[in-house]
């Protein structure tokens, strides 16, 4: 391919003056490049160091329990038998519940804020949502114990039991503190981040998209669905992943409402336990070496689970975008 050569500059053109001066030093550019590279590398090094340190800290437990650590369910500090399975299960399930609740809510909120809401209502609503993100986790946890749990126990949970009690997920006695309560509190905590990021993404959808759809005679719903949501799909998916990252590591508020029982139960009314919670709960009073190392290994597992979930999400995103471009090509 031939490169188009710009027309020669006339001598009286101001650009020729610039060319006549000494060439500008490239030092600034280079320094900037190196600086940003160092910063970017620092993040990578930090992640690797964290993983390495967790590995070192848990070497004794890894040697003793091996792969069984991931597949057994006993957590007995007295007998020094440790298995992480209920915690892995609890982390994944509570995060999943949180996503199921928070994603539709957040994206609907973001759509309303960017596409439908009258201008005067947008800013106050956005500020309120951002305020929700500023509530400290431990405060939310206390609110969870004293306000949310009694309410859930008295109204929504019995209703769920009446309607869906025939499924294993909503059976058994209702105590309030439960896997479901844990998921709900995480949902509240990740709602602001998914909403804000989704809103930014929807705002960046060019107006041309919308105008084109309107020009084709689309209704408002069709415009939102086809021109906006579908266009922004990749970005919205990214927003969800950000929320998921937070959900997996959420500690304080979850610990206060999830019941902290290392068990794997189908019923969401039963209490559960998460990886982050067991570390927060037991780290300070772990006196024996193997106990402490088992908790380190829990940290390593959490680290691994987070990375793995993110990788799977990236893969999903990739297949999603390639299939859409493939269908487009066919069309």
């Amino acid at each position: 391919m031939e490169i188009a050569i710009p027309p020669a500059v006339a001598p009286d053109d101001p650009r020729s003056v610039a060319r006549a001066m000494a060439p500008p030093s490239r030092f600034g550019d280079k320094a900037f490049e190196w600086l940003t590279l160092t910063m970017a590398m620092a993040v990578v090094v930090l992640v690797i160091l964290t993983g390495w340190q967790l590995w070192l800290g848990s070497s004794l437990a890894i040697q003793k329990f091996g792969f069984h650590f991931l597949t057994t369910s006993t957590w007995d500090p007295v007998a020094e038998q440790f298995g992480a399975l209920p915690f892995i299960y609890g982390t994944l399930v509570s995060s999943l519940i949180a996503l199921v609740i928070a994603v539709p809510l957040s994206i609907a909120t973001a759509v309303y804020l960017t596409e439908l809401a009258p201008l005067w209502i947008r800013q106050p609503l956005v500020s309120l949502i951002e305020m929700l993100a500023a509530i400290p986790s431990v405060i939310l946890g206390l609110w969870g114990i004293f306000v949310m749990i009694p309410w859930l126990r008295d109204y929504p949970f019995p209703w769920l039991k009446r309607v869906f009690g025939w499924t294993p997920f909503f059976s058994g006695p209702i105590y309030g503190t439960s896997m479901l309560a844990g998921g709900i509190i995480i949902a509240i905590m990740i709602l602001p981040i998914i909403t804000s990021v989704s809103r930014e993404i929807l705002r960046s959808v060019p107006d041309l998209q919308r105008e084109a759809a309107y020009a084709l005679g689309a209704t408002r719903w069709e415009v939102t669905r086809i021109a906006v949501l579908s266009y922004a799909r990749k970005g919205l998916f990214g927003a969800v992943i950000l929320g998921l990252g937070r959900a997996l590591g959420e500690t304080m508020a979850v610990t206060m409402v999830i019941g902290n029982t290392p068990q794997i139960a189908a019923s969401l009314f039963k209490s559960g336990y998460t990886l982050a919670s067991v570390i927060a709960n037991e780290f300070t009073e772990a006196t024996t070496d193997i106990y402490l190392e088992a908790l380190f290994e829990i940290g390593l597992v959490l680290f691994g689970v987070t990375i793995l979930v993110n990788l799977i999400a990236q893969l999903l995103l990739k297949t999603m975008t390639t299939t859409t471009s493939a269908t487009r090509a066919v069309q």
């Binding site: 006993t74 957590w75 007995d76 500090p77 007295v78 007998a79 946890g141 206390l142 114990i145 004293f146 749990i149 009694p150 126990r153 006695p173 105590y175 309030g176 503190t177 610990t255 206060m256 019941g259 902290n260 029982t261 290392p262 209490s271 336990y273 919670s277 927060a280 709960n281 037991e282 780290f283 300070t284 009073e285 772990a286 006196t287 024996t288 402490l292």
Partner: protein, 339 residues
């Protein structure tokens, strides 16, 4: 104009404090460990600053596990723990470590029932409830102990601590002593593999869950039950008497407990007539051979003060003080610290 004045004042204060700290070179004694006695320790350090202004204490309440680790690693001058150190951990110490008991506290059995009646429990019933074998409030074992109280046909919801804690250590220590089944199935530790129940984080978490859950029962430190105005049970002790948890009945338990020479004792199920059975002490951990003579001397002076004058402050902060007999033994032990 006004803001300028205030600004100047702040500047003056900052300068003054800066000058005063640099002027008197104070000795700093560092400690770390248990959270349960933190309120009284910080009160002691405050009061002791008036007795001996040349020494300052820095105590970090990072938990008993951390306290034991740090004193073993010699990164602090003294450690603190809610449970005595295990033989394994003591063997790791580079020198002889002394256990110095300071104060004691009680675990109470708090509950949430309609009308909040006053209830009585014995060892068997408590073990049954926490093993998950007694499931209903109107179980014959409970009603037999509480004639005249109508108990509902309601499920018992057991609440326990989810975080590792000295409170749990005392509770499981008691259960292990009175129930062979508990001892083999669960055992004693700062956190255990609970046969039943839900976990709440911290005393405030357990207290909150008991208050919020009808039919709940759980254990909290005495002071939390008092502050939260929760009803708590009288418990039948080893002598067969029903005893209410109070500071006096805890001190009585300490006085009657069998305390070995190394002070690594457990005072649960103490034989005394007035003894409340579910109580435990908390310890300071110091090396017998102090590395830094000047620091060691100051530390010994402080320990002696805490075992005498300090003990008098315990009751105000809802801790049970050591009985006279134990105090004398502790003072003798402090004298064995060498510089």
């Amino acid at each position: 104009m006004k803001s300028l004045k205030i600004g100047r004042k702040i500047l003056a204060i900052v300068l003054l404090t800066g000058v005063s700290t640099s002027a008197s070179a104070q000795m700093m004694i560092n400690g770390a460990g248990a959270t349960f006695p933190y309120p009284i320790y910080s009160k002691w350090f405050d009061e002791y600053a008036k007795v001996d202004p040349s020494v300052r204490f820095n105590y970090q309440s990072i938990g008993s596990g951390g306290g034991q680790k740090q004193i073993l690693a010699q990164t602090v001058d003294f450690g603190a723990s809610d449970g005595p150190m295990s033989d394994d951990n003591l063997a790791k110490a580079p020198g002889k470590l002394l256990h110095i008991p300071t104060v004691a506290g009680a675990d109470v059995l708090a509950y949430n029932l309609p009308g909040n009646p006053a209830l009585k429990f014995d060892a068997d019933t408590i073990a049954g409830i926490f093993l998950g074998q007694i499931k209903k409030w109107n179980d014959p074992k409970i009603t037999a102990l509480n004639p005249g109280v109508t108990l509902p046909d309601q499920e018992i919801v057991v609440v326990h601590r989810s975080d590792g804690s000295g409170t749990t250590y005392i509770w499981t220590d008691y259960l292990s002593k009175i129930s062979p089944e508990w001892k083999t199935k669960v055992g004693t530790n700062t956190s255990v593999n609970w046969p039943t129940g839900v976990g709440g984080k911290g005393n405030e978490g357990v207290a909150g869950q008991i208050k919020q859950t009808p039919g709940a029962v759980g254990y909290v430190e005495l002071i939390y039950a008092v502050q939260n105005k929760m009803p708590y049970a009288e418990i039948k002790n080893a002598a067969g008497e029903f005893v209410k948890p109070t500071l006096e009945s805890v001190t009585a338990a300490l006085a009657a407990a069998e305390i070995p020479d190394d002070f690594r004792f457990s005072m649960t199920n103490s034989p005394g007539r007035d003894a409340y059975p579910i109580a435990g002490a908390t310890w300071l951990l110091v090396y017998q051979q102090q590395k830094d003579a000047a620091k060691g001397k100051k530390l010994v002076e402080f320990l002696k003060w805490s075992a005498t004058d300090g003990e008098k402050m315990a009751k105000d902060l809802q801790y049970a003080p050591l009985p006279e007999s134990v105090q004398q033994r502790v003072l003798k032990r402090i004298d064995e610290i060498k510089m």
